[in-house]
Amino acid sequence: MDKTINQKAWFLVLPVFLVVAFSAILPLMTVVNYSMQDTFGNNQFFWNGVGWFKELLDPSTDLGGRFLASLGRNLLFSAIILAIEVPLGIVVALSMPRDGWSVAACLVILALPLLIPWNVVGTIWQIFGRPDIGLLGYTLNNLGINYNYVSNEVDAWATVIVMDVWHWTSLVALLCYAGLKSIPDAYYQAAQIDGASRWAVFKAIQLPKMNRVLLIAVLLRFMDSFMIYTEPFVVTGGGPGNSTTFVSIELVKIALGQFDLGKAAALSLVYNLIILIVCWVFYTVMTNAGNERPAKQGVE
């Protein structure tokens, strides 16, 4: 085989290579570099090998304890908001009108929370929930419910979760609605003729047709909630105590609060790795959903 050798091609790749190098590879390598060292300020660094990583995974150390605790809280948070937002989103999508002018109105109203910047959402709820001047906090306390997200852990969690549900259920609902809209009328008519109940229609037609968008919704909501920072930081600042300190908040505390660059770098690498693995699992599941293995021969 005669291949034309043309070295000019390298010049065409070079710009992309440079951009990627400066935007991704170099910063990542810097982090890898930091994660192997310790610093006491003054730009003095000492070699630490895989010391930080060992500490991270060992709950008896300070770093490991904080990391694993915040990781646990973060996973719990993601699980709770998924358990609320996915069913709620489906219910909202199912109860939306199928046609007419009200469709546009519903879509705009649903999209509103999605358009608000994270820190604004945080500020809204921070004020909304204050017992002295916030509508929610004031009302609750006057109803005799002792609610204070600054001092009570349960209240803080409830606030952060409700805030996330308020902010992001729309996304799940919109995705599900798109899935529902793609079901041809004939399916509903056939189900009617087959005598299917409302629940049977949901199980046999609507849920299977929403399968794909639901997977996307779960993936997006999991990743987003796993990386959540701004909203709880604005509302609770991670408190009371460490009760709402999620991984990203812990990371910022270590990196910028204590200026422990080595520990922070190691933590961020592990954090990144978890997200990559979860992404990969979801991606594999998604691409395999729907195209199952060929039917077993010999059964027939």
Binding site: A186, Q189, D194, G195, A295
Partner: protein, 361 residues
């Protein structure tokens, strides 16, 4: 199983107060025999799917009544009507196996499991689906999926009629034949009323023993394929059925004679009482007009071209401004640009305002 009567049935999607011309289905009264194989034939938008959906209950009529065996079922929901319907695109439940798909209508009606299994097995045998019973329904071919849709109708023992809404649209041509003969066989074996909507005349004429032709929201004729061919009740039927369709030309008709562009044509019957002021036309199928050498006594026409369809040749000719098709007899060679036309008087029909006029003997 039931006889279906439509009594003054009409539907407008805009509601009852819509203008009469905008009715998707104009008032119709007719009877569908128990056990009959019917085809609803007409071009797109003629109201045939509307009529079908009215019978199945997907659409509620603006006016009129539907009777099953004499009982008024107009207000009943689709579930309660004992109707099965097969749609244009196969509808199957994705997550279920073929067997579960077939069992679905019975499960919804709370039939005991043993009975469901027996019934599903029986129907799967009937439709040659038995080898696929445990497979996911999504992965079958389009024709197998249509069979499943059909099977979901057949499993119910109480089905009054099966409605087909252009069920072969997405099926490969060679499989269409198979599936259609399957339907015919099922109809013979099961003694079910079948109503088959299509815009394909071959499909309609081969499937049905009665073809109902619709045009512009009206039922214009219903009859056997032979009746539709020999004696179209409406110029639309003549034109729509047959290939090429019927020749319809304006004419003056008096007694036993029609004049086309001034040329007299003999008629088999006498037409004396034609409505005055009506548009009078003469219709004759190309099969019953032969091209001949031009002679003084014959209507002369200009030949534009000859279409050879294999078994038969048709000449496309022009009489004055009107286009006309005529048969070229076997072995006849065309002498020149003009030819004479020989009419078979027993197949020349007279239409007043597009409707067939019965002459007197």
């Amino acid at each position: 199983m039931a006889r279906i009567d439509l009594v003054d049935l009409a539907h407008a999607y805009g509601g009852n107060d819509a203008a009469p011309e905008s009715f998707a289905l104009k008032p119709v009264t007719m009877t569908w025999r128990q056990g009959g194989a019917y085809a609803l034939l007409g071009p797109s938008g003629c109201g045939k799917t509307t009529l079908l959906n009215l019978i199945s209950g997907i659409v509620t009529p603006s006016r009129g009544k539907i009777l099953f065996d004499g009982a008024d079922i107009t207000p009943l929901s689709t579930q309660k009507r004992n109707i099965a319907q097969v749609f244009q695109f196969p509808v199957i439940y994705d997550t279920m196996t073929v067997g579960q798909n077939l069992a679905f209508p019975l499960k919804n009606r709370g039939v005991p499991k043993v009975e469901i299994d027996a019934r599903v097995r029986q129907i799967a045998d009937l439709l040659d689906l038995t080898p696929h019973l445990d497979r996911k329904a999504t992965r079958l071919t389009a024709d197998a999926k249509q069979k499943i849709s059909l099977g979901r109708g057949l499993v119910r023992s109480d089905v009054a009629a099966i409605l087909f809404d252009e069920p072969l649209t997405v099926i490969d041509p060679e499989l269409k034949w198979q599936l259609r003969s399957k339907l015919k066989a099922l109809h013979r074996d099961l003694d079910l009323t079948m109503i088959y909507v299509t815009h394909d005349q071959t499909e309609a004429l081969t499937f049905a023993d009665t073809v109902v032709v619709m045009h512009d929201g009206r039922v214009v004729q219903s009859g056997t394929p032979a009746e539709l061919f020999d004696k179209p009740a409406h110029t639309f039927v003549g034109y729509f059925i047959g290939s090429p369709g019927m020749n319809i030309v304006p004419a003056e008709v008096r007694g036993r004679e029609a004049r086309i562009s001034g040329h007299p044509i003999a008629l088999n019957r006498s037409y004396d009482a034609l409505p005055s002021g009506a548009k009078i036309e003469v219709g004759v199928r190309p099969e019953f007009v032969d091209v001949a050498a031009p002679e003084p006594g014959l209507l002369s026409a200009n030949i534009e071209r000859i279409d050879d369809l294999g078994r038969v040749r048709f000449a496309r000719v022009r009489i004055g401004d009107a286009k006309f098709n005529a048969r070229v007899p076997p072995g006849f060679s065309i002498p020149g640009d003009t030819a004479g036309l020989v009419f078979d008087p027993s197949h020349v029909h007279v239409y007043a305002d597009s409707r067939l006029v019965e002459g007197t003997a």
